[in-house]
Amino acid sequence: MTDAGDLQRSIARLDVDECLALLGHRVVGRVAFICGDGPVIVPVNYLLDEGTVVFRTTYGTTLDTIGSGARVAFEVDAIDEATHSGWSVVVAGKAEEIWRPEELERARNLPLQPWAPGDRAHYVRILPSSISGRRID
């Protein structure tokens, strides 16, 4: 049984430059990582810093466990409520906690204000192995 509007949505792939441009304009994304048997998704405030994704974590939280090279996937999207059209960008890579003093100093001076409270003294960078995106109409 199909309804009159049962059109399959069209998906157009975005190139890396388009993906980076979209990432540069948003402030919230979601980090997916493996914890125990399965994946976990946590929303974070982030910044795009020279082609890498940076966000802050609080000691003792699940998210804080990924900073030692865990494989992660980071997603940002903007989907229109009425039409369900929009775009989505995914950065896949490894998460590393920023620990070198000069890098940490630099990270602390980035305008990265988390939307939510918490110590968030740790800075984590995702080094991308792939950046992909799609537009959905």
Binding site: R9, P39, I41, V42, P43, T58, A73, E75, V90, W115
Partner: protein, 136 residues
């Protein structure tokens, strides 16, 4: 209300389910593990009979998450201007819905797969954990 390590309010399961069923747009993100790596995709979902349901296209990446694999599903609404928002996480196993009566009930939902392809399968998350956070 209990708060977590970051000072966010911890939501009850009921509150989470209420958000899942009322949130618009009905878009969330699903994550599953492929080749030892996490994959994450946005999906159009429905909250049907207490479970998160979405559609997949056979052969599409997402169809890998329908044979009992562990998945995570997240929905959020975050307003960084007002520093408020909430997020709900469902963890469980993804299972294809095969019961014909149930498929027929699902056909009445506004649930479309994204992308071209033949008629898609319905997948339900058998949840083992539903959690949420809110910042007011």
């Amino acid at each position: 209300m209990p708060t977590d390590r970051n000072g966010l309010t911890v939501l009850t399961v009921d509150e989470c389910m209420r958000l899942l069923s009322s949130h618009v747009p009905r878009v969330g993100r699903i994550s599953f593990v492929s080749d030892n790596k996490p994959v994450i995709l946005p999906v159009n979902y429905a909250f049907h009979e207490g479970s998160v349901v979405f559609r997949t296209d056979p052969g599409a990446k997402l169809s890998a998450a329908s044979g009992g694999e562990y998945v995570a599903f997240e929905v959020d609404s975050i307003d960084t201007t007002w520093e408020e928002g909430w997020s709900v996480l469902v963890q469980g196993r993804a299972e294809e819905v095969t019961d014909p009566d149930e498929v027929e009930r699902l056909e009445n939902l506004p649930l479309r797969p994204w992308g071209p392809g033949p008629k898609a399968a319905y997948v339900r998350i058998m949840s083992t954990d539903i959690s949420g956070r809110r910042l007011d």
